[in-house]
Symmetry: C2
Subunit: 146 residues, 2 copies
Amino acid sequence: MADAFMAAAIAEAQHGLAEGGIPIGSIIVHRGEIIGRGHNRRVQQGSVVLHGEMDAFENAGRRPGAVYRECTLYTTLSPCAMCSGAILLYGIRHVIVGENQSFMGEEDLLRSRGVQVDVLQDAQCIALMDRFMHASPELWNEDIGV
Amino acid sequence: MADAFMAAAIAEAQHGLAEGGIPIGSIIVHRGEIIGRGHNRRVQQGSVVLHGEMDAFENAGRRPGAVYRECTLYTTLSPCAMCSGAILLYGIRHVIVGENQSFMGEEDLLRSRGVQVDVLQDAQCIALMDRFMHASPELWNEDIGV
């Protein structure tokens, strides 16, 4: 079951790549059902807030806090400070990360607040980012790069 | 100068209130110039990611990381985990908060990462939130309330 949800997150990342965007995707699951899907929209919408995870929250839409607190979030790449903050804000208790070799997000912060963070080091997720970071370093480094 | 920027953040909050929304506003300032303005869009756009600060980032748009790192962010209310995460992601070094009596955000986290956080306890900011929280408790408690 977990594999199917990560596959859906990867499909979102691939969708983003096909649009010319940054290949990071995310899925939010509530009681076994996908309630939000998203991928990074920096290129497509010029958005600086719609990372994959944020786009998944946005597409899940307005829900009672109790719903979010029962959700599991899948993301192809380790969540950055902003997305980790959203995970904390909405009380997500379980995050499944495709990989953290391309980028290490705020996993320690999440765990310190009681969030279970599982990292798969999925080969497909790693390959997606590796190809992208080598093909478009200026885009990858645009926002927070040195 | 600081007062004029907080006044602009308050004007954003009042704009949001006039639209039927949650009265929280934010301004991002780069070298003395406002480059982003925003207010909470939960009601207006059904957005769960566009808090005031996030909306200000979104309206500032795609900028080189070096620009964000020179910015000061003004917000009428203490920034939540998501907005604090965005502040950390974009390397904002200075945050000026209207008040933290209505809601205490992640000021300690920001300070622990080296961000200067100044809290004004501004009477106008406090009054805006106080009136709103009493008039619309169900809206205020919808997302992360108990």
